[in-house]
């Protein structure tokens, strides 16, 4: 899932300065699961904006809505009737959701209420960790299903580095060394021989270094 965190309310207030009617929009998918931008978080954010405004002279109305997925036009269009009544939208979605709303509602400013962090998984309740960098050329087949691109601080393809100590990364003793995990996993699978193959330098043009990416399925295009 895409993991995100809410921006500081003071930042959001700064963005919506001057707007009298604000619509806070949540997303029912990734950011709901990571407790950053679902229906409850929309209610909390809207309440905080209203409460903060209680001591102000400004007349602020805050409406709430949560759609299934902000990054899809069909769902974004569900806001068609609400948006004309507002001066600004605060999107509690990932960057893709914010941009979808901005494209869908050209005449209304759309502001990000979240900081999109990474593609990750829930490590335990309330803790999420990065597991995928969307590099565009997956190497998980060679690394026992553990990603050295996202989970190794140095993104090295032939690890571990000299900084791996007791299974932990030198940049943070709380972070597992990805290459230790890869070694342990391949050993368990009886596939340690895979580490004898030297992985050539990665072609980063498949990642964001190659500019904005696009995926096309010709058979699906109408």
């Amino acid at each position: 899932m895409i993991v995100a965190e809410r921006k500081a309310i003071s930042d959001i207030l700064q963005m919506i300065e001057g707007a009298g009617r604000v619509l806070v929009v949540g997303c029912g998918t990734c950011v709901t699961v990571c407790l950053a931008g679902g229906e409850k978080e929309v209610a909390v954010c809207a309440s905080l904006l209203r409460l903060q405004n209680q001591g102000e002279d400004r007349d602020l109305t805050v409406a709430e809505a949560t759609i299934e997925r902000q990054c899809e036009w069909e769902f974004a269009r569900e806001l068609d009737e609400l948006v004309p009544d507002c001066d600004a939208i605060v999107s509690l979605a990932c960057g893709a959701g914010v941009q979808t709303l901005a494209a869908q509602f050209e005449d209304t400013p759309v502001f990000p209420g979240l900081n999109t962090q990474f593609i990750g998984i829930p490590e335990e309740q309330g803790v999420w960790t990065e597991h995928c960098l969307a590099c565009g050329e997956c190497v998980l087949d060679k690394t026992g299903g553990i990603c050295p691109i996202a989970r190794c601080a140095k993104t090295i393809l032939n690890g571990p580095c000299g900084g791996s100590q007791d299974g932990k990364c030198e940049i943070n003793p709380e972070t597992d060394c990805a290459w230790q995990l890869i070694f342990d996993r391949l050993k368990r699978l009886g596939r340690l021989h895979m580490l004898e193959e030297i992985e050539p330098p990665k072609n980063w043009s498949h990642s964001s270094d190659g500019g904005p990416r696009k995926v096309k399925r010709e058979d699906m295009i109408l």
Binding site: A8, I9, K40, A43, V44, L51
Partner: protein
């Protein structure tokens, strides 16, 4: 109830397995209780979410008490622990917007502790009354 009436009131979310009984007994046995307290029965304090408390404040309540079971006495094991953590987080959120964080209180009481429950509510209501809330919010 109008917003004006609520402004002087305290909303107490009470766990039905503990604090609710204590508060009801305090009333029943004529203990000194602030009149402005409204109790809301909840199955567990851990069921009360941040938005419930914020809605109560938005509706005009001067303060909100989240009344749970004592530590390690939760029927659902971790409900009170989660409730306390949630309230701590909520206080941080209120701080973020400059709203007085002491408008929300986490407290615990056993069903038989009517006097304790009454004392907590009295103290909380007195503390709220001693502060000009409107002024505090504006500051």
């Amino acid at each position: 109830m109008t917003t004006g009436e609520l402004r002087t009131s305290v909303i107490a979310f009470c766990c039905e397995n503990s604090a609710l009984q204590a508060v009801e007994d305090a009333r029943h046995f004529g203990m000194t209780m602030p009149e402005c307290v409204q109790t809301i029965r909840v199955p567990c304090a851990g069921k009360v979410e941040e938005d419930h408390i914020l809605k109560a404040l938005e509706s005009g309540a001067a303060g909100v008490v989240l009344f749970a079971c004592h530590t390690e006495n939760c029927q659902y094991l971790q409900g009170n622990v989660r409730a306390e953590k949630r309230l701590t987080r909520l206080r941080g959120l209120l701080d973020e917007i400059g709203y007085p964080a002491d408008a929300v209180l986490y407290a615990s009481a056993a069903p038989a502790e009517a006097a304790r429950a009454a004392r907590i509510l009295r103290t909380f209501a007195d503390d709220l009354a001693s502060v000009d809330r409107e002024e505090a919010i504006e500051q």
